[in-house]
């Protein structure tokens, strides 16, 4: 490395370094784009119920009710007695029908009373009952899966449901009507054509509403109280359900009222697994006794004093 002092070499060093340095300064900061969220899957369409026309009667009680603690050996009731508690599928959001009293945390209502009566008849203690709250659409399946012994949950007797589960004789009339805000001027369902009406998913009410030739925009939720929230917030124009349920909602919000003619009439029954006919006959015997001694009518008066007229206990009919 002899020769004269040369400017070229230091200049090249610096130039190369400057280019590299510039490169390193510019390189970082490249970030990948975030992946967009996948669109939600389309909602599944509700399956259409096959046509079914005639509701059949229940199964006749066989003899008088056995005393509590003396269930026939090998019967479903004996199995319940051996377990030590009845498992009843109920609701806790229907004021006066089946609801949770927020002050005590206890379940109350006409359905709850009936479940307790069944427990008392089998086990001799109305408190030996485990309540399992069921979504409206889950009631039949809970019986089929034997997750519950009985469903006492404003369970309307329909011939469609009779293909899946067994019903007791009716214990209460279920008349479908509407709940609207006071001052809305709505008195009949025809005035709601094309508007939003809410009910519980999988209920008989839903089927009736969808069958009306009014192009109703039917909104459904797992339970009727969710509909009440939407009504209070002005998101739906009406709630449709059975009169006893709507009366319970109206009792909680004086700014609403039950209106309109009866859109469909049916009866509530106690749901039982199709294979457990002995339990059906047992419940029917219990209902016969309650009809006879007036306790069923007394329970209806107690819980549905808010209704005028108070609904009457339904009469029994048997298919055998």
């Amino acid at each position: 490395m002899t020769g004269p002092v040369e400017v070229r070499r230091p200049a090249v060093y610096l130039a190369v370094a400057a280019v590299l340095a510039l490169g390193t300064l510019l390189l970082p900061g490249a970030g990948g784009p975030s992946t967009p969220a996948a669109p939600p899957p389309p909602a599944a369409a509700a399956p259409a119920a096959p046509a079914c026309t005639r509701v059949v009667g229940s199964l006749r009680p066989q003899g008088p009710l056995p005393p509590p603690g003396a269930m026939p050996a090998g019967s479903t009731m004996a199995a319940i007695a051996a377990r030590g508690r009845l498992i009843a599928g109920v609701d806790q959001g229907k004021y006066r029908v089946g609801y949770r009293d927020p002050q005590t945390g206890q379940l109350q209502g006409a359905d709850i009373d009936l479940a307790r009566q069944i427990a008392a008849a089998v086990l001799g203690d109305p408190n030996k009952v485990q309540f399992v709250v069921l979504d409206i659409a889950d009631r039949a399946q809970a019986l089929i899966d034997e997750r519950v012994d009985v469903v006492v949950n404003s369970f309307t007797i329909t011939c469609q449901r009779q293909t899946q589960v067994e019903f007791s004789t009716p214990y209460l009339a279920a008349l479908q009507r509407m709940l609207v805000p006071k001052g809305s001027g709505v008195t009949e369902v025809e005035q709601l054509a094309g508007r939003r009406v809410c009910t519980s998913r999988g209920s008989t009410t839903e089927t009736v509403l969808r069958g009306l030739p009014l192009r109703l925009d039917v909104v459904t939720y797992p339970g009727i109280p969710d509909c009440m929230l939407d009504l209070q917030r002005g998101r739906v124009d009406a709630v449709s359900s059975d009169e006893v349920i709507l009366a319970g909602l109206a009792a909680q919000d004086p700014q609403t009222e039950v209106v309109g003619r009866t859109l469909s009439g049916a009866f509530y029954g106690v749901g039982v697994n199709k294979g457990q006919t002995d339990l059906v006959r047992f419940v029917n015997a219990l209902l016969e006794r309650s009809r006879a001694d007036g306790s069923l009518a007394a329970a209806d008066r107690r819980w549905f004093v808010i209704l005028d007229p108070v609904p009457q206990p339904a009469a029994a009919s048997y298919r055998d």
């Binding site: 490395m1 020769g3 070499r9 230091p10 510039l22 300064l25 498992i87 927020p102 945390g105």
Partner: protein, 426 residues
């Protein structure tokens, strides 16, 4: 370069451009001086950027990350308190109500604080807007639920469920997104603050190489020892390089410690929120009386915390001591199994008592212990993080000014050294 015939130095119209040795020396000296000054400027700019990044770690971004984590936790805690208060029936216990009120205060403060720190148009602004818009709706639904509960009407439960769904599906995810964005910003600051200083080092090495080249050629040409000016310049440039590399090593290790601590904090924050959501779920399952199927979410949250490679493992990998948290979580898990066993076995009242009362082996007491253990662990990690950021900041003191000053001095030394040689030709 082909040299033209030599002419008299100092008489040319354009100085420094001739082929004579003094002109050559001047040219080389000028290039090296320019190199020194450019390196000094790059050093100054890089040093300022790094100091900023580290102070941002310890300042704005860390504060907003803590805000976001606190917001997320207090929102989840409010929901857990609201649902638990409902399980017992009647007016909720005073302690539960106080905890809810405190959570709402803290969440509001965290929201205001986060909103104030986030510049407009920032990606996090949308998340803050979502939380800010839905939070009053949530508290409104809760108060409506309370009003109905006080009247003994079951509609309150529907409002409570609706509020809890709003919290879990809209508000908490937005708060989580805010925290994710801010944690990512923090991670970017670690990279900016601790990366190898390629720009300064490349330029500095080039200047050093130029100096050595000049010095060797000069000493060979003149058969003299190195020019003192050039030697001093070389030492100064080398010193600035050593300064940079040493600071990068020290600050880098402090920052990677800080990053580990912050990752552990995030994992523990996540665990704490998962615990709160599991607690909400435990209460909601009891309130809904839907049976054991809805309990799957509790099991899933606890698995997220305790499972292999779960949140506690992540926190431990970041240097956190999670043994107390782990045993508390296992205790709560055991208490919860007992709750489910009782409820599924028909003893609803016993299950509720375990969730709301103060039996030391019950779900309520073991949950509170776990929450407290997580709080202690998170605080320890936050303190360790702040200390590590402090170490990084301490190492970077004078990084902006120091090496740049050395490089300017090196430029001056080159001027002096070359000027002296050129002077010898006069």
């Amino acid at each position: 370069m082909v040299a033209p015939p030599t002419s008299e130095p100092g008489r040319r119209r354009v100085p420094w451009s001739g082929p004579s040795t003094p002109d050559r020396l001047r040219r080389v000296g000028a290039v090296i001086v320019v190199g020194c000054l450019v390196t000094a400027v790059v050093s100054l700019v890089s040093g300022v950027a790094r100091t900023d990044a580290v102070s941002e770690c310890g300042g704005r971004v860390a504060a907003i990350t803590a805000d976001a984590a606190e917001l997320y936790r207090t929102l989840a805690d409010a929901d857990a308190s609201a649902t638990t208060g409902y399980v017992s029936g009647g007016i909720e216990p005073a302690a539960v109500r106080a905890r809810y009120d405190d959570d709402i205060d803290r969440a509001s403060a965290g929201l205001v604080s986060a909103a104030g720190r986030i510049p407009g148009g920032d990606a996090a602004a949308a998340s803050v807007a979502t939380v800010a818009a839905r939070f009053p709706v949530y508290t409104g639904l809760i108060e409506t639920a309370r009003t109905y509960n006080r009247q003994g009407l079951p509609l309150g439960q529907s409002y409570l469920t609706s509020a809890s769904a709003l919290m879990r599906t809209t508000i908490l995810p937005a708060a989580a997104e805010l925290r994710r964005i801010e944690t990512a910003a923090l991670a970017q600051d670690y990279v900016r603050g601790g990366a190898f200083p390629f720009g300064v080092v490349l330029l500095g090495v080039a200047v050093l190489a130029g100096l050595v080249d000049l010095g060797l050629r000069e000493s060979r040409r003149t058969h003299r020892v190195l020019s003192p000016g050039l030697a001093v310049a070389a030492v100064l440039v080398a010193a600035s390089l050593v300064w940079w590399v040493a600071v990068t090593a020290v600050a880098g290790s402090a920052l990677s410690d800080a990053e580990a601590r912050s990752n552990a904090t995030t994992a523990l924050d996540d665990a704490r929120t998962a615990v709160l959501q599991a607690r909400s779920n435990e209460s909601l399952v009891l309130v809904a009386r839907g049976g054991g199927a809805a309990d799957a979410q509790f099991v899933a949250q606890l698995d997220r915390i305790l499972g292999a490679g779960g949140l506690l493992d992540s926190a431990a990998a970041g240097g956190a001591d999670v043994s107390a948290v782990r045993s508390a979580a296992q205790a709560w898990q055991g208490a919860h199994r007992e709750v489910r066993r009782r409820d599924d076995g028909g003893d609803y009242a016993g299950a509720v008592a375990s969730v709301v009362e103060n039996d030391p082996d019950g779900s309520n007491a073991t949950f509170l212990k776990l929450d407290a253990a997580l709080g202690t662990a998170v605080d320890a990690q936050r303190a360790a993080f702040t200390a590590a950021i402090g170490r990084a900041g301490g190492a970077q003191t004078l990084l902006a000014a120091g090496p740049a000053a050395l490089l300017v001095l090196a430029a001056a030394a080159v001027v002096a050294g070359v000027g002296r040689r050129v002077g010898e030709y006069r």
